[in-house]
């Protein structure tokens, strides 16, 4: 598998978590979510296709959406975490940390084995 494909799979796999994290601090509308992702990650997405994902997360009960009519010259649709979404986010964060920790330990073990091999030569 080419490196680019693997990188893309990593990004895709973490996108749900990234979106849930983005709205965890408070409600955000679609463009604000995109801008937040662009500012803090390299999960740069084709803007128009993030909305179907927001729709899916809403249908799954993880997000709740509502329209705000008077904030801007035009209405904006805001997304916020539901209770179920908050629980899921907590689970996803702990899973992510555990997974990242395991991979980190693996990399450290590989590095130390590499060092030992170099020293013995």
């Amino acid at each position: 598998m080419p490196l680019e494909t693997w990188q893309e799979q990593l990004r895709r796999g973490s996108l749900d978590l990234a979106i849930l994290l983005t709205v965890s601090a408070g409600p955000r509308y679609g463009l604000a979510i995109i801008q937040h992702l662009e500012a803090f990650t390299d999960l740069i997405v084709t803007e128009g296709t993030i909305y179907p994902i927001l729709g899916r997360l809403t249908r799954d009960g993880l997000l709740d959406s509502y329209w705000v009519e008077d904030e801007a010259p035009h209405p904006r649709k805001y997304y916020r975490l539901t209770r179920q979404g908050t629980r899921r986010l907590t689970d996803m964060k702990s899973q992510w940390r555990a997974f990242a920790g395991k991979i980190e330990r693996l990399m450290e073990a590989a590095s130390s084995a590499e060092r030992n091999n170099r020293d013995s030569e």
Binding site: R11, G30, E47, T49, P52, H74
Partner: protein, 215 residues
Amino acid sequence: MILSDTGTSRINGYLFVLERSLATVLPRESVRDVVREIDSHLRDRISAAQAVPDERVMLEKILTELGPPQRVAQAYSVERTVDEAIVTGKIWAIARAVWHVAMSGVLGFLAGLGLFVGYFVGAIFVILAILKPIFPDNVGIWVGDRSISEGVDIGPRVGVNVLGHVHNVGGYWVIPIFVVAGFGLLFLSNRGARKFLVWWRGRRPGFSITVRPAS
């Protein structure tokens, strides 16, 4: 910034194509909501854009970043149809979802082809079970007149007799066999399709997203 009439027409044209594309896959109320949200996105983008000498260039940049309207509609369509198929398990919803997935890549196409064969053969068995009482002499299990050792016939055939050198050994007892085989295959194909869609969605949680490589 405030758009000229030409710019406004360009935006309205984009939203019109989006609405028309969504109308074939989403309920009317959802279409209205999606178009309103994309319209809001575009207005935010336009109002945040700095005034440039060439309004057309600025608009095309914004619309390119958003993606072609058909592609946005397709992303909604895939998300919804796959969700609906997984949740309801209805054969029509599954067929629509498999079709969408099959159109999205080689793996999806191959899985769709395999599932189509499963559904097709299952349906054929059920049809044969229905036809047997109507055409008892033409529907059954067909066996070659000559033995395999003579190297001509290759064993039993199922279906309508279109070959002169074979004979029907199937009585009415083939009906339950056809029914079990038909519905069994349909059930297994449907179950397989649902499992495939669950796996496919899980494997690619952002499957409708195009992620540009990090710069």
